[in-house]
């Protein structure tokens, strides 16, 4: 391809790692990587952490730091070899012809300079010497990224913007010099789903308008599907598959690509009720150095010798000449279908369960935090009514700041509610802080936390954490609890001798398994799982989600599953509660919530989910205004973003509760008949 804008040929990057000792060892981050990007094209690079995708971006920018080095290969841009550029030419390129958008917009912006100052720097470096002209360009760029009040934005500091607005500002900064290539490194990670959708839609519009090429780096196949024309999959620094989006998604030929596609839950109907297929094992240092296939030790199809003894070349797939993959068995693999065994959930539940009293029931539950200095109160939660049945899974869905974690903390007693009641087996526990709860109550309600890095005490062994829990909650002696701890580890599919290990010797997924074991050690009735997988790599999500599902079925647990990932919720839950800014907007059985009629917010959420099984869809999503955590006033919490808003009603009066069907409740001013009935997506 001679018309390529950017062309990477045999790119190899090594890092020198200084370890605690004196010896330093090298690590290959990117290994013999070749790809092209045509003018106006969007290429996605996908892979899990450690696959080298950020390194690729930084190598193109020639910004690898002191211990990173391009050991082989060339990168050429507009026909020029980037390795041969003089520092001055490199500076003209950076920010001028190639611009970058980063993972964390908050820390990518200088906190002590206004947005305007930071934006104007770019044109002053690349396009004009006149401040007035630069200012004009900056304002124009801000309005192009659809930020409200561009003039006012110029004078603001980054911390005065919401996360989505910050990322828009960074995008404006990148596009201001009209670069030919835009590199985006996980630009939407950490943003709420609906914000992510609107940012992606924006980038898509802008790149088409300006004919900009995009290199989009992400771990999220769905997001890549939204934006890109072609997609490459990286594993251990090597390109394992590359091709047009539709071909790679519909006919993946590399087992790793297949694994990535199969391990994420989907909203699509045909996959419901099936277990997710996790990718076994983890990326190891050995795999990086493998002569043959780096994926061999995790691959279900691996053939000893054939796959491991010689280097494997990227080869085109028959009938799809632009689609290449690095697998010896590529042509012999069966046609791709997301299979998965039938999950326990779909069979275990008898249709007509006798209606019993709910195990956990919230009525009018609310939480207010007093703000310092007599500035009133912050209402984190208001008027929550919901039930959890014995043995059921209740999913609580919401964006950051929706109050879902506050709810979890009230259930466990880490926070006291300020109003309403929460009854557990008929007893109100809403105002009972953990210190005042009796042992049997503490034992019955357990929690799994979000962050695998802090869920276990780094100073204590895994065994100690489990034994101590068993001992304290069941009053059992040491020998017995030792045996129990080992049994629990096996239950969560960890070797029993991990009891001796310290948390730092475990991977994130393994720590999360220990946290699950610790919750189970109490033999609880209810386990509250607060975003249990969101800090883990995608391929680990499936394993943890499956484990939770399986344990729940086996031990008749009731699960409160808190998540922002609606596809995962669809996979896990039988009841769903949607929180928006501290209020419950919809509650009901999963089948009812995920079928029309929808609450306007639910509809927007469903429309925002990037789904790899249906690539190419673009969502129409609005982004919230400025405020991230204002006080919750009267009226519908969703009014600021709702396309159906009825002016002077929705923003003033609390919406009534509609009941489209038994036990399905939607809080909205629209008439039942007017509620949205399709997930509007624009193709």
């Amino acid at each position: 391809m001679s018309g390529a804008l950017l062309s990477c040929a045999g790119l190899t990057v090594d890092y020198a790692l200084e370890t605690a000792g004196l010896e330093s060892m090298g690590q290959r981050a990117v290994d013999d990587l070749s790809f092209d990007i045509a003018p106006g094209e969007a290429l996605g690079l996908v892979g899990e952490s450690g696959c080298g995708k950020t390194t690729v971006a930084l190598a193109i920018m020639r910004y690898l730091g002191r211990n990173g080095r391009i050991s082989a290969g060339t990168i050429s841009f507009e026909g020029r070899d980037l390795g041969q550029l003089a520092p001055r030419e490199l500076r003209q390129l950076r920010g001028g012809r190639i611009a970058m958008v980063y993972q964390d917009p908050h820390s990518s912006l200088n906190p002590v300079m206004t947005i305007g100052q930071q934006l104007m720097e770019v044109p002053l470096l690349h396009r004009t010497r006149r401040r007035a002209a630069a200012r004009e360009l900056a304002v124009r760029a801000l309005s192009e990224v659809e930020l409200p009040d561009p003039e006012g934005m110029m004078a603001r500091y980054p911390h005065q913007l919401s996360g989505g607005q910050q990322q828009r500002a960074v995008i404006a900064m990148a596009l201001i010099a009209e670069p030919a290539l835009l590199i985006m490194d996980e630009p939407t990670t950490g943003l709420d789903v609906t914000v992510e959708a609107s940012v992606l839609a924006l980038v898509d519009r802008l790149r088409r308008r300006h004919g900009t090429s995009v290199l989009f780096i992400s771990h999220n196949l769905g997001a890549v599907g939204r934006l890109c024309d072609r997609v490459g999959v990286l594993y251990a620094g090597r390109l394992v598959e590359l091709g047009p989006l539709s071909q790679v998604f519909a006919n993946p030929r590399h087992p790793y690509t297949r694994g990535l596609l199969a391990c994420v839950p989907s909203l699509a109907d045909e996959r419901r009720g099936r277990l997710l297929t996790p990718i076994a094992g983890t990326l190891t240092e050995r795999a990086r150095q493998a002569i043959g296939c780096a994926f061999a030790d995790r691959c279900a199809h691996a053939v000893e010798g054939l796959c491991t003894s010689q280097p494997i070349a990227l080869e085109a797939i028959e009938g799809e000449p632009e689609h290449v993959t690095r697998c010896v068995l590529a042509e012999r693999l069966p046609a791709f279908a997301v299979e998965g065994e039938k999950g326990p959930a779909s069979e275990a539940r008898p249709a007509a369960e006798p209606v019993t009293e709910p195990l956990l029931a919230a009525r009018g539950l609310g939480k207010r935090y007093a703000l310092g200095g007599g500035r009133g109160a912050l209402e984190a939660l208001r008027g929550i009514d919901l039930d959890l049945e014995r043995g059921g899974t209740l999913a609580i869905v919401g964006e950051s700041g929706s109050g879902k974690s506050t709810f979890a903390r009230i259930v466990i007693g880490l926070t006291e509610a300020s109003e309403g009641e929460l009854s557990f087996k008929g007893k109100d526990i809403a105002h009972l802080a953990i210190g005042r709860r009796r042992r049997d109550l503490r034992q019955r309600l357990q929690m799994i936390f979000q962050n695998p890095d802090s869920t276990l005490n780094p100073s204590h062994s895994v065994g100690y954490a489990l034994e101590r829990t068993i001992g304290r909650l069941h009053g059992i002696g040491r020998t017995q609890s030792r045996a129990d701890a080992r049994r629990l580890l096996q239950l969560v599919q960890l070797p029993a001798d991990y009891a001796e290990r310290l948390p730092e010797e475990l991977s994130g997924g393994q720590r999360q398994r220990v946290a699950i074991a610790r919750a189970l050690a109490a033999a609880p009735d209810i386990v509250v799982a607060d975003e249990p997988v969101s800090a883990l790599d995608v391929s680990v999500h499936a394993a943890i989600a499956n484990l939770l599902k399986e344990l729940q079925a086996r031990h008749a647990l009731s699960l409160v599953f808190i998540s922002h990932d609606i596809a995962l919720v669809r996979y896990m839950a039988d009841h769903v509660a949607l929180f928006y800014r501290g209020r419950l907007v919809e509650f009901g059985p999963a089948e009812a919530v995920f079928a029309p009629p929808y609450h306007p917010y639910t509809q927007m959420l469903l429309a925002s989910v990037p789904d790899p099984s249906t690539p190419g869809q673009r969502a129409a999503v609005r982004e919230a205004g400025t405020a991230v955590s204002q006080e919750i006033g009267r009226g519908c919490p969703f009014a600021a973003r709702c396309p159906w808003r009825i002016d002077r009603l929705c923003d003033r009066v609390d919406p009534p509760v509609l009941e489209p069907s038994d036990s399905h409740r939607i809080a909205c001013h629209l008439d039942l008949i007017d509620l949205p009935r399709t997930i509007e997506r624009t193709a």
Binding site: M61, Y63, R66, P87, R91, Q92, L93, R94, G95, G96, A99, M100, Y102, D104, S107, S108, L109, N110, P111, V112, M113, E121, V122, L125, H126, Y157, H159, Q160, V170, M173
Partner: protein
């Protein structure tokens, strides 16, 4: 902001009252002591008791403290026993000497600290960084009297370039400027290492921030990135520490003043304390605390002004 300042001022006033009371009690609580001190060891017990009554020292501490506070507020700091002059006189005299020393030292310390701190922090882990770090560590490990001895041995005794004492009179044939060199040098050496380390840490952590990368990848040259983006951020945190050095420079340089026989505030306090010259000790302590708290407040306020995240709130 205003509210914050008002609160801090009120808090400062409260602390001053507390400190003055504590110092007063510490020095004057035992009633017999004062009279004994005045009369000397050979006075009889009767004489002591008589004087105690006469001076009104047998009345409750609180009453006496209030009287004392009243006198302070009316500007009467009392009479110094050792220096045989009103306390106010000797206090201002010595303070102005110390201020001179402090000002010169400050003017030397700050630029040096910022320069070396930034140089080291910009390239964390480089050879230059290691050298500066080790050097800073080394000089701040030397007690002031040790540096004083070393420098005086070299420059005064061996080379004879500078005076070994700095009485701030021109009688010894040395100019005032020459007399200031060694004291300033000793203070600067002791103090600057700490500040270099402080600036370095801050600079290094700023250089690791993603926004520095953003600036570089905008196409900006490295010196410009450092000046425009990194420096302002990096100086916010050490700013307070730098201001707090005023505190040390005024009240903490007793050692240097003693080494060079410099007639400053610290040495006055030491002499007064050893001679149990209570009036001077009390007044001096209050002045020192006042200076300390003022610099602290100024540091806090400046910090808030420099950082828009605090200035403008979330």
């Amino acid at each position: 902001m205003l509210r914050y300042t008002a609160r801090q001022l009120a808090y400062m006033a409260l602390t001053l009252i507390g400190v003055s009371f504590a110092v007063f009690v510490l020095n004057e609580y035992a009633p017999g002591d004062v009279a004994r001190k005045l009369l000397g060891a050979y006075a009889t017990q009767e004489q002591v008791e008589h004087l105690t009554r006469e001076l009104g020292l047998d009345r409750p501490v609180l009453v006496r403290y209030l009287e004392y506070a009243g006198r302070l507020l009316s500007g009467d700091l009392g009479q110094s026993l050792t220096f045989k002059v009103p306390v106010a006189e000797i206090l201002w005299d010595r303070l102005s000497n110390t201020f001179l020393l402090a000002a010169v030292a400050f003017a030397v310390i700050v630029p040096v600290a910022i320069l070396f701190g930034v140089l080291a922090g910009v390239r964390e882990g480089s050879l230059g960084d290691h050298l500066i770090l080790i050097g800073a560590n080394f000089i701040s490990s030397l007690p002031e009297f040790a540096t004083g001895v070393f420098l005086a041995s070299i420059f005064a005794v061996w080379l004879g370039w500078l005076p070994g004492t700095s009485p701030m009179t021109t009688g010894g044939g040395w100019s005032v400027a020459a007399q200031l060199v060694l004291p300033v040098l000793v203070i600067a050496l002791y103090d600057v290492g700490y500040l270099i380390a402080m600036v370095r840490v801050s600079m290094a952590s700023v250089m690791r921030q993603p926004f520095v990368r953003t600036a570089v990848l905008k196409g900006m040259s490295r010196p410009k990135v450092i000046l425009r983006h990194a420096l302002r951020n990096a100086l916010i945190a050490p700013f307070t520490a730098i201001l707090l050095q005023v505190n040390y420079l005024v009240a903490g340089v007793v050692v240097v003043e003693t080494v060079f026989a410099y007639p400053g505030f610290g040495r006055m306090m030491l002499q007064a304390a050893m001679a149990k010259d209570i009036a001077v000790v009390e007044a001096g302590t209050l002045v020192a605390v006042l200076i300390a708290m003022t610099t602290q407040l100024l540091g806090d306020l400046a910090y808030r002004l420099l950082d828009p995240r605090i200035r403008l709130g979330r």
